[in-house]
Symmetry: C2
Subunit: 772 residues, 2 copies
Amino acid sequence: MKQYLTVDEWSIIEEGFHPHYNQISESVFSLGNGRMGQRANFEEAFTGETLQGNYVAGVYYPDKTRVGWWKNGYPEYFAKVLNAANWIGIDVKVAGETLDLNQSEVLDFRRELNMREGWLERTFTAQLASGKQVRVASKRFTSIVDDEVGAIRYSITPLNFSGTLTLTPYVDADIMNADSNYDEKFWNEVLQDAQANEGYVIAETKKTFFHVCTGQKFVVTQNGQEIQVDATPEERTKFIASTFKVAVQEGQEIVLYKYAANISSENHPKEALIENTKKVLVSAVGKGFEQMLQEQAAAWAAKWEESDIMIEGDATAQQGIRFNIFQLNQTYTGEDERLNIGPKGFTGEKYGGTTYWDTEAYCLPFYLATADPQVARNLLVYRYKHLQKAIENAEKLGFTGGAALYPMVTINGEECHNEWEITFEEIHRNGAIAHAIYDYIRYTGDDSYLAEYGLEVLVGISRFWAQRVNWSAAKNQYVMLGVTGPNEYENNVNNNWYTSTIATWTLEYTLKALQHVQSTDAARYQELVQKMNLNVEEETGKWQHVIDNMYYAEDQELGIFLQQDGFLDKEQTLVKDLPAEDRPLNQKWSWDRILRSVFIKQADVLQGIYLFEDRYDLDTIRRNYDFYEPRTVHESSLSPCVHAILAAKLGDEERAYEFYLRTARLDLDDYNNDTEDGCHITSMAGTWMSVVQGFGGMRVRDNQLHFNPFIPSGWTSYSFKIRFCGHLLNIKVTKESVTIENQAEKAIKLNVFDQPQTIEANSKGEFAHQLV
Amino acid sequence: MKQYLTVDEWSIIEEGFHPHYNQISESVFSLGNGRMGQRANFEEAFTGETLQGNYVAGVYYPDKTRVGWWKNGYPEYFAKVLNAANWIGIDVKVAGETLDLNQSEVLDFRRELNMREGWLERTFTAQLASGKQVRVASKRFTSIVDDEVGAIRYSITPLNFSGTLTLTPYVDADIMNADSNYDEKFWNEVLQDAQANEGYVIAETKKTFFHVCTGQKFVVTQNGQEIQVDATPEERTKFIASTFKVAVQEGQEIVLYKYAANISSENHPKEALIENTKKVLVSAVGKGFEQMLQEQAAAWAAKWEESDIMIEGDATAQQGIRFNIFQLNQTYTGEDERLNIGPKGFTGEKYGGTTYWDTEAYCLPFYLATADPQVARNLLVYRYKHLQKAIENAEKLGFTGGAALYPMVTINGEECHNEWEITFEEIHRNGAIAHAIYDYIRYTGDDSYLAEYGLEVLVGISRFWAQRVNWSAAKNQYVMLGVTGPNEYENNVNNNWYTSTIATWTLEYTLKALQHVQSTDAARYQELVQKMNLNVEEETGKWQHVIDNMYYAEDQELGIFLQQDGFLDKEQTLVKDLPAEDRPLNQKWSWDRILRSVFIKQADVLQGIYLFEDRYDLDTIRRNYDFYEPRTVHESSLSPCVHAILAAKLGDEERAYEFYLRTARLDLDDYNNDTEDGCHITSMAGTWMSVVQGFGGMRVRDNQLHFNPFIPSGWTSYSFKIRFCGHLLNIKVTKESVTIENQAEKAIKLNVFDQPQTIEANSKGEFAHQLV
């Protein structure tokens, strides 16, 4: 845990230079706009510890996989988002001496990520080896208005000398992914074109043949006046630069405005890349840095208007939750159904920028509540577009007849992951993808989605479940053998309760969905039945038979669902009895020891209870929570949020808050010593869930919103905004009451503390806390 | 399956050149002497498909491992036997034109591995591109008398021209392992020294710093007369050569006698390597090729005298079983306790030349029966010397107090394998190592081994088992969770019956062994108790408690032992119902599908019944056999032998013979399409077991031999020799009777067809077959 960042409600601030935390800061201070993302690397040269990173959404490379022992069915490639051209680069020479903070004395240093307006600023004074001092102020952003453009204002002022500054803004596409499996570069040269004040590099990904054109254009001012510089262009393989010199007086400020664009063949014809890059840059230069920055601030203000959570009385918590919301909004904007949410977003390379079940299980609720329904819908359409690949994936594993198994890890719909116990067995992901369709429809009311896209996905997944179970003659029931549940500290277990539960839930929901489409759009239903080659009677009959005859692991005596068969054969020790030096288990214990133990990585049975809580009475929930939580080590950042929500439901406000704290500042405080790899983007959505569903007690039930809020004892108030079926609500919780403001033009019926309420259009309702 | 080799009772013969099978032939025709082994590569240049291979026993390299996803507890290195200097190389130029069978027309070609005398001969006539024809006869062996020496007689005769032959005998140590994980070379240069008629290369293994000196010395004759040649020496990195020219007339034979030595720092001081290599070579040249060859033939005759199996009436079977015995004797001679038996011996690189449980479970019975007890004993001492490493290995996994887990794969006692389900979970190997001690003692009568070495190993392993089980409050018994049994088509199962059974067997045997040592050598007992820090009362009390309260998976209704908990939940299909195109499963099915299925890779429950058959009545054995065999796909070459033995015991002679056939000619017929990687050395011992224990019905029970032989219907007779407790017996089985010849100087009591018999010294007993 590192607490070197300043607490501020709207900004992340580093005061003073922390070179050893630089890679952490590079992750935390990352900028992104859904289309591209840039780690907080320095513009000028830096020979210290750094992971240079610019990631362009949708541009990936199938890196040859690395395995120890090959298993039949493994994919040969791991698709990963590429580290792309460095577009921020500006080499600076001070009277011939390279400016490099690793070689200079840093007299002062400040870095700020302004979340309210969406920009990064860095100011410092450096004394070079020669004794010359310069003051630098660099401000930049990746525009969410012009989402292919990034802009930098780089200001440099000599403090104790007059002399020549040499500046070289450049674009370098000769980049290697830090996580390249065989230390190979993934980019081939296409062309480079350097002019006096602009330049362009097109590089091509090997194998996938994406073209990305990265261009730069710049303007220079001296003492606030634009000056013409006589820049010398330079071209090398996958590299362009323009170098110019300016004579400056002590105290005179030189500002380089660098505009850069990353334009990919995903969105433009290859032959028009240069031309379109030029257009985009001409337009950016035309607007100018300051206007772009104003537009950026306005666009972010609109985002905050929809998605902010305000916490009074706890600035640390305020900063934490805003950081999470900011990063989620930087990562995914929902404008492009081909894109998704990598566990690290654009802040690092780990996990390859690929899609996991995190998206459906954790991220979807955030985007559903805080953005236009189209945003969440595109996350669903992403999976719809991958349905054929999921069917092929299942075929590889021996399934037939249109059964679909979505990959554990993917960019383009193909499986990337090679661990048999995960790739082949952690199949509950299929359930999360089905459940996301249900969640989307109940939250938005958009049930036309079923006929358009959803039903096909549901049928593919249901076909998979129906084949994946087998009839046990011994039990006279269906069983589900050889699975890995959400708790990845168990592998290849039989009858994981969560997986079996979400499997039969999928079958039930698919049957309902079929009926719904049949009854609302008979023609489309017929069309789909034909398209899917669905033998309605036989297949739905089998599904119903599975639903009716499924075996679920349970223990009657304890009154709990069993995580899997044989769970009670384990030595029943508790987390509180673990020696501190044994934690975290995944670093201290061998894998077999972890597997044999009762200890649970993340919510598993409780994940199911969270998803389907309306099926269970409070006592059942409590018995399971009381059994499983003390055995859970929460060694996944996705674990605490579910526990926070259940603890809140069970009235344990203290523990709910404790769980919330575990992830709220995970990256800001580098809790797990791994933020240098990138931020935990998907778990940030879990933190949001802890507040809204945990503290706010928000649920959707019978097509209505329900709130059962409490307020953590250290807070004065908190408020959050949500959309729901076309409404926009602002919920504020104080010590005394809950105020719900309906900002929409129509009344809403909802439930507060289990009492039905109606709030008229553009009005508020205030409700006192209930004494428990 | 490929049947391109000629059937012959004593030789393996390839008539005609089969370039596409060349890598298979290179494996099959391999030579070895326990100290070094050489694939059947050509001496002269060959640009066709080849895997050049010379392997020097005990010289290994810890190659950096390759894994997909790291698990805590994995070793970082995979130790592998190195591909060492090419000592056979002789470049040949015919009037300036390189002799290369891949570039020549091969007019005739014959290759013979003479197993009776232990040599390899290759003769061919080649027509070069120029039209020149040469006749070549090359004969070579790796001496089992002078086990650091190999000798070659390379004869070349121009058939249709007179001219100059240029010959370049060389040593090339600039070799790369084909299985190098990162395409790295494992050898560093030390020195090279080339003289006119001799030369030496010393190369050093990276990291392990073994030095190996490979030297050559040669003599040339023309028309049978030794001639002096004016050879030009050449030295390059890790390479020496001497080149000379001879003018030859059409029909004149030039013979190059090349003597080579591989001498390693495992057996010689580094500073004396050159000197000792020279000595060895001077001695070899002194003896001369022909005398060395005679000594070789005599030494092999002695080996055959002890270990031959003769089959009359089936030359194919005769060749097959001799090939197996020959390869086993080429691989391991038992002279060096630091050496062991790699699954491929010296015939290829796959599995890294490392030691598996194959040694104890399959190879030990062969060496026990066919060689001096010292040979088998050294296999045991090998493990004794690794006890400390096994304790450290267990500590890495969280075990304490001297618990020992022997590695799954090793050369030097350290674990090499990185698959969690194998490395950490296939722990039954520990039981096989304990059982080998029991097997050795009951077979040789050498119970002093316990006090000397055995007890410490048994205690280490018992301590492991006692910690590896845990008390199940649910079952009120001890359970063994998270294991992989011998059937590797199941991973991470609970209560694998075989593992639990061999675990408690180990505890029982260790308790007996403690009592035995205490009662026979109280002083040594005290010494060992102290050395092992054994808390006798507490530890043996715990062991007894585990023995008394162990849970074993069983099904009362079917009357069978259950391979593991939940086995009957699987879909109970049989191998006979599998479509042919689905076989072998390990190539056709995804791993999860294999895991979920009932299908068994190799004997698992039946392995336990084989080892402990005296515990079970015939009905129990039959019920288990009848249940498990039809579910077994025998996709390990180690599987059929156990089934052959059990089928024989159950009176199913036809199936016993069928199982025998599956492995008897596995490599000769390249049954599994993988002989090019090397021969299946350890499974060859299983074939021997099929004959001796299966057909011969040989058992040791109550310190006596038992025989219940039958003869496969197609055979006229078969006979095998075995040692037992200082006796030497020759057992011959014909259609009519069994004749047992006692070749020792003392009488032996034994049992034939369950009747006690005494056979006097140097006499025979003949016993008619029993009608069943």
